[in-house]
């Protein structure tokens, strides 16, 4: 197949069957590092991640290995790293690193790609050389900050300048990062266990001894391997990384600030607007996730007896409160009950029912965080009000021996289903028993 044909397929590659997809990835890899190939790979990367396709080892991939966890993520399920490195920056940086090292020396590092006794040493030497080169590039670029860099073909924004510095720093501690990745595997880690904490502590101590300034980025790398990065904060306070108490407090404050900023960003991500109809389930998922992050951060702050983030924590809690109130609770009953009216089998019915189910589930999901948000009363009131209306609808449709399978009965049973999604199976079963059997079973 011609390269142009492959590239023309674009996002169609996301839907072809798995064996063919694997074959195409293999073909793309053989075609080398070309901008068109990179664009195609960028399109299909989410599926490659999903299928965990084992990529051919290359020196470029080895270069990225220590900082790959900081690359931007795809989809809603993966959390964004606390400090992001753009793939585009890495793609612009690598050719410069490659040219500076030179073909001959690069060839001598090839052994780092294959199993054998030479692998470890060669990889470490390669990372050390790359670190020095990236640091040089970053230093030279510092004078052009804000302008477009000709060699890299990128505008050197403050974020990219910071990311370049981060890459250089991470490459200097690449061996410790390798151990960290081994300790925190497989990614994402949902709960920190003792062996995880010991792994982080051991590699962290080595970093603190050899390059204390790299400790923050090292911890951010550790956080990026977690399902919820804020979960690391609690463990971190108890960890002995061999730092002086003052340094430890500074590092902790620094990291707490980064975690807090990310939580604040997330809390702004689903702001209601007149143009946007809220996806109530997405809002509920976000609210539950944010409250878990807030809890973890608050616990860590309490352990460290630090009150400096109290105000920001309170503000985020306030914005989650508002988000749940205005986008999940408000008018939830109208949408849910209205769906029962249009059960005529059309395409609209499907969409309306799916939306109503999503609203009911969102309400129920939010009940797990309603107490913390001070919304318990409002949520209970909304749930009771909706349940009462749905019960009346069900009674009207199914009462008096109408419990067959007709149009009317269908809306009655759908009302009971909505009660189940909203208030649980026990409540729905009780309502159904009352209507169909007069409460006997």
């Amino acid at each position: 197949m011609d390269i142009q044909d492959l590239i023309a397929l674009g996002d169609k590659l996301l839907y072809i069957d798995e064996p063919k997809f694997r074959q195409i990835v293999e073909l793309l890899e053989q075609m080398g590092d070309h901008p068109d190939i990179r664009r195609t790979i960028a399109i299909i990367r989410p599926r490659m991640v999903e299928l965990r396709i084992h990529r051919r080892p290359t020196l470029k991939r080895l270069f990225c290995d220590p900082f790959e966890d900081l690359f931007e993520t795809f989809g809603k399920t993966e959390p964004m790293p606390l400090s992001v490195i753009e793939r585009a920056l890495m793609n612009s940086l690598w050719p410069l690193v490659e040219t500076t090292i030179g073909k001959e020396r690069l060839k001598s590092y090839r052994g780092a790609l294959h199993d054998g006794p030479q692998r470890r040493g060669l990889a470490e030497a390669f990372w050390a050389e790359c670190a020095a080169i990236v640091a040089d590039i970053a230093n030279t670029a510092a004078g052009d900050a804000g302008r477009r860099d000709g060699a890299m073909d990128l505008r050197l924004t403050p974020d990219r300048m910071r990311a370049m510095g981060d890459i250089a720093t991470i490459l200097t501690i690449a061996p410790e990062v390798r151990d960290l990745k081994a300790a925190l595997s497989p990614k994402p880690v949902s709960r920190l266990h003792q062996d995880h904490l010991e792994g982080i502590q051991e590699a962290g101590r080595r970093v603190a001894r050899s390059r204390p300034e790299a400790l923050k980025i090292f911890v951010l790398l550790a956080a990026s391997r977690m399902a919820d990065p804020s979960a690391l904060l609690g463990g971190l306070w108890e960890m002995d990384l061999g730092l002086k108490p003052v340094d430890r407090a500074t590092l902790f404050m620094d990291l707490s600030g980064t975690v807090m900023a990310q939580i604040e960003d997330r809390s702004r991500s689903l702001k209601a607007s007149p143009e946007r109809v809220p996806d109530r389930m997405a809002v509920a998922d976000l609210a539950v996730g944010l409250m878990a992050s807030l809890d973890a951060t608050r616990d860590a702050m309490e352990q460290s007896r630090n009150k400096s983030f109290d105000q920001r924590l309170k503000q985020v809690r306030g914005s989650v409160h508002e988000m749940v109130r205005s986008q999940v609770l408000q008018d939830a009953d109208t949408g849910i009950v209205a769906a029962l009216g249009g059960l005529d089998g059309g395409a609209d019915e499907r969409t309306q029912l799916a939306q109503a189910e999503s609203q009911a589930r969102a309400l129920r999901k939010c009940s797990t965080v309603a107490d913390q948000l001070g919304l318990r009363g409002e949520l209970r009131e909304m749930t009771q009000k909706t349940t009462a209306t749905l019960t009346a609808k069900a009674r009207q449709a199914l009462g008096g021996g109408n419990a067959g399978v007709g149009g009317g009965a269908r809306s009655g049973y759908t009302a009971i289903r909505m009660i189940e999604l909203l208030a649980g199976s026990a409540e729905a079963n009780k309502v159904m028993d009352e209507i169909l059997n007069g409460g006997r079973r």
């Binding site: 999903e50 965990r52 049973y413 009971i416 289903r417 649980g424």
Partner: protein, 367 residues
């Protein structure tokens, strides 16, 4: 509680028929009759432990928190005459049509019932054609006149009277035998049918499942790979048995004249084969849909799906095969322990709604 090996059923009736519950812990559990003809349900691997719990049918809602759909299905099965796969399917479609398992399940159940009606019409016509063919009569004129037209029906009656005469039967007797045969083979259809019936389609899908699972388990280093391999083997044995039964049935229908002439003995064989086929393939629709849904997902989700399939895989009863599949499954369980996977929210004891909805979607695909 009995262990999986101690439990190993001897017959299909002992194994029970799979029930498409949407409550995760009860999904695809089996119902059967006890020695006093009372219904009981077999719940395997509760909390991922070993063995099978036998719970009286009436006590099921007290023992497990159930979805409202399952409560209705529970009632319908309790009120039904029997608990064969066909009886259970009827109850499952009836409860799904109500809307308690969501809109998708309603649409799927209605499509399945429409398909049943079409197949019923088709098989009746095909058996009439077979009857005419058996005595050397042509059926093309009926088709030309139109099956539902007055002319078409008159032609059918005339030709069938001639056929009955050739077979030395009363026309009503021939009609009644054909009608009875149609009921037996309704879900299987005839070999030459342009539109394969439900169990033929299911066999084809099971073949696809076996191939896909074998491919997945080969060269796979995951802990679930040997379990996937076992599931593929069970599917293969089931296909082989089902193929033999299907062949017998097809041969019986192909020798239509003998079938009708020796009706008293042959009808028993046909009925037995048709019943056996529905038992053999019982419970596979859901597992095939579960696997088809998982193949596009992550490795971890595929591993979990394989464990879920293994939990309720329809092992062949002892009387059906020389292989002791229950023993093989027990050995596999011992070799592959796994952490507990809860089906309820551990904080509240509430059902995992996301899991319930996933089962509802799969149920829709499997209907």
């Amino acid at each position: 509680m009995r262990s999986l090996t101690n439990f190993a059923p001897s017959t299909f009736e002992d194994r029970g028929a799979a029930v498409a519950f949407t409550t995760p812990v009860l999904a695809q559990t089996r119902v059967r009759k006890d020695s006093r003809e009372q219904l009981e349900v077999l719940v395997p691997n509760l909390s991922e432990g070993r063995g099978v719990y036998v719970v009286p049918w009436k006590a099921l809602p007290l023992a497990f928190p159930m979805t409202v759909h399952d409560r209705m299905l529970h009632d319908l099965i309790a009120k039904a005459d029997g608990c064969s796969p066909d009886d259970i399917r009827k109850a499952v479609l009836q409860s799904a049509r109500c809307g308690l398992a969501g809109n998708h399940a309603v649409e799927a159940a209605e499509a399945a019932l429409r398909d049943d009606d079409e197949q019923r019409l088709l098989i009746n016509y095909q058996l009439i054609v077979e009857a005419l063919k058996a005595v050397g009569l042509e059926s093309t004129e009926i088709l030309r006149a139109g099956l539902a037209s007055v002319e078409g029906q008159r032609l059918t009656r005339d030709l069938m009277s001639k056929a009955a005469h050739s077979l030395a039967l009363e026309p009503t007797e021939l009609y009644s035998r054909i009608a009875e045969l149609a009921v037996y083979v309704e879900s299987i259809g005839v070999l030459t049918s342009p539109k394969p019936a439900r169990l033929r389609r299911l066999m084809r899908d099971l073949q696809g499942f076996r191939e896909s699972m074998t491919d997945w388990a080969t060269d796979n280093v995951s802990e679930a790979a040997p379990i996937g391999g076992f599931c593929a083997e069970v599917a293969e044995h089931t296909i082989n048995h089902a193929r033999t039964v299907m062949k017998q049935l097809d041969q019986s229908v192909a020798s239509f004249e003998t079938l009708i002439r020796q009706w008293d003995t042959k009808r028993l064989l046909v009925r037995k084969a048709a019943t056996r086929l529905s038992w053999l393939l019982d419970g596979w629709e859901y597992l095939i849909a579960l696997w088809a849904d998982s193949v596009t997902k992550s490795r971890h989700e595929q591993d979990l799906a394989v464990h879920d399939i293994f939990r309720v895989i329809p092992l062949l009863p002892k009387d059906e095969t020389r292989l002791d599949q229950a023993m093989a499954a027990e050995k596999l369980l011992q070799a592959n322990r796994r952490s507990v996977r809860a089906y309820v929210d551990w904080r509240s004891g509430q059902l995992d709604v996301d899991l319930v909805m996933r089962i509802e979607t799969l149920k829709g695909k499997a209907a």
